[in-house]
Subunit: 349 residues, 2 copies
DNA sequence: CAACTGCGAAAAATCGATTTACTCGTTTCT
DNA sequence: AGAAACGAGTAAATCGATTTTTCGCAGTTG
């Protein structure tokens, strides 16, 4: 009955060799495309491979190699559109070069970040794309340095003295947001953010503040920052509004903050842009289909991914030289959620 | 200058052995926790490991093993919240059992699905969690069967004769949606969907239609289905409305369809729920913070993930018996985007 | 005292492919 | 003609751990 004896060992190079009547070394050469094999023998090997359904065992094959054709990717999370697209892009770029991408999520923990890195080191990955939880100065980057790993840092980084970095030009984008909000007449703006330690959050905040103050020295900029979690941010924001503060615009430095802001507006019955304006860093597909459409800074995911991979492969192929720090320009989409404060800022429409 | 000689070969088991003055076999035993080692020697080995910073090379270690402690996961895409959460959950569950998750995206292609599967087979993964692009009858599942792989199918599947399956109870959820829409008085409903071949799409459509017709035999149900891409769906939907069709409610069978429907409503200046009602399969975080909040069917991601992993590990550990087919109950959140058609169905508010 | 039992550890085989070194013939060059 | 070069192929070493086998030695047993 049970034809469950199909646990037949998969064909090894020796099986192919004996079936083709040659040695294992010859089979290996045929697979490697070496020309010093008699065409006749090569054909017999090819036939044997075909018949046995032979596939090279990557474990054995990679054993003697110092590096495998594997790229590791470590993202802070997988749930957001941004990192989802990033992983997808990276995977596709890696595959184009014949590499396999192995992705892992640090789940916003620096400890996990280093553990994963150690595991990838054990796996002898050729290189790593690390999107650190905080910034380029964490233990993960240090681990990579001490272990001589090849890698690129992306997203929440500015520049590093050991690794190439690629990230969105947060400061420039924030400056542009400031320019537009000030231009529309806003003079009391609330900035909300998460993760003070993240390199990009500081860049966004500073870029925004500098430009806003330059264009309108009388502008009032309030800041509500929470350290790591979203819920504390929500609480702080609620408290801020409860005090009676009434900014005419809110600029959220990251996606979850935009959601928190929107939900607080809901609680209070405020509508955009009549009661308050809203811009968020990070775009999402849904933002253009809602009433109103939500203004957002679009991060250039594809550019970041492709430049990161370019830099990484250059290093893998041995390129020397000082590390580069790339900043990719963002696009600011001022959608319906932003208006002029004049429209009415006190009562509901 | 260049202190770049740090490419020092990492310590092998033999380095540890010679430093501890024992043989490699003894080191291996100490690491494996075998008790037949003199405590004194064990200590020397431990010290040597400590001093050399020795870590087992997984490549060499796994070489002789038939299976590695690796679980493969293949998702149709990484960009959506649903699959992002799914991968995250699976990764965390795998790690809890000491396994590493290797995730890959088939990018909605059955050909890629099989390629990835072949690669994972080469890697000797202990098991695979496959979320097939279409359904359980594709080439990927067949590949798994012929190669005797261990696996679980999730999401776009109903049941299979070789593998355990876990998915959301689409039919029941759709029936509930039908119940509520009919209950609110809707008698002309448009259902939009993508991927006729996907097991779940059919289940959702049939579940909805059966219940709606049972409760209100006079209900008119229109269906707009596109095969694979979103843009054709958008075109079809636009054409449908251009004909002058005016359903009072739209039920989208998947997330992207909900976005397409919303953007078409925008084009025409229709607001929910006054001009038209909308419910979508698949919830997303933003749906509760928009005006109006969008009604949605929430898939039980955590349950699906954990039951899938439970089933998978049971099989890995040798559990026999016929495959099981689990359906996890969904939650239907009727939010503001759904109202009664009476509210006004012709002109803008 | 020879034979047996066990323990602890070393030696050797194994996993599957790659690579180096080496063996024969054949050409080619001087 | 003799040396060097080359073509085609094989045996063996190698990668780093695990597992099986073997071995020495101490303590028992008959």
């Amino acid at each position: 009955m049970a034809h469950r004896q199909d646990q037949q060992r998969r064909a090894s190079i020796h099986d192919v060799a004996s079936r083709a009547g040659v040695s294992a070394a010859t089979v290996s050469k045929v697979m490697a495309g070496v020309t010093t094999v008699k065409p006749e023998n090569a054909q017999r090997v090819l036939d044997a491979i075909e018949q046995l359904g032979y596939r090279v065992d990557p474990l054995a094959s990679d054993m003697r190699r110092a590096k495998r054709r594997i790229i590791g990717a470590i993202m802070p999370e997988f749930e957001s559109e941004f990192f989802g697209q990033m992983v997808s892009q990276l995977e596709s770029l890696a595959e184009q070069r014949g590499y396999t991408l192995v992705a892992a999520s640090s789940r916003e923990s620096e400890a996990r970040e280093t553990e994963i890195l150690a595991r990838m080191h054990d796996w002898r990955v050729a290189g790593v794309v690390l999107a650190p939880v905080r910034n380029e100065h964490g233990p993960a980057a240090a681990f990579m340095k001490t272990n001589g790993m090849t890698g690129v840092l992306i997203d929440r980084v500015l520049s590093d003295d050991a690794f190439d970095t690629v990230s969105a030009d947060s400061a420039a984008a924030s400056a542009e947001v400031a320019r537009q909000l000030i231009g529309k007449g806003h003079r009391h703006i609330l900035v909300v953010g998460l993760g003070e330690q993240a390199a990009t959050v500081r860049a966004r905040l500073d870029g925004f503040r500098a430009t806003a103050l330059e264009l309108a020295p009388d502008v009032r900029i309030d800041v509500v920052l929470a350290e790591t979690d979203v819920e504390p941010l929500r609480a702080q924001l609620r408290h801020y509004f409860a005090k009676g503060e009434r900014p005419t615009a809110v600029y959220s430095l990251f996606l979850k903050g935009t959601l928190v802001a929107l939900s607080e507006f809901r609680r209070r019955g405020w509508h955009c842009p009549n009661d308050i304006s809203l811009v968020g860093f990070d775009d999402a597909e849904w933002m253009q289909v809602t009433w109103p459409a939500i203004a957002a800074v679009v991060q250039p995911v594809r550019q970041i991914a492709s430049h990161a991979m370019e830099a990484l492969f250059a290093r893998i192929e041995g390129e020397a030289g000082p590390p580069t720090a790339r900043l990719e320009p963002c696009q600011v989409l001022m959608r319906e959620s932003v208006g002029s404060p004049a429209n009415g800022s006190g009562t509901r429409q």
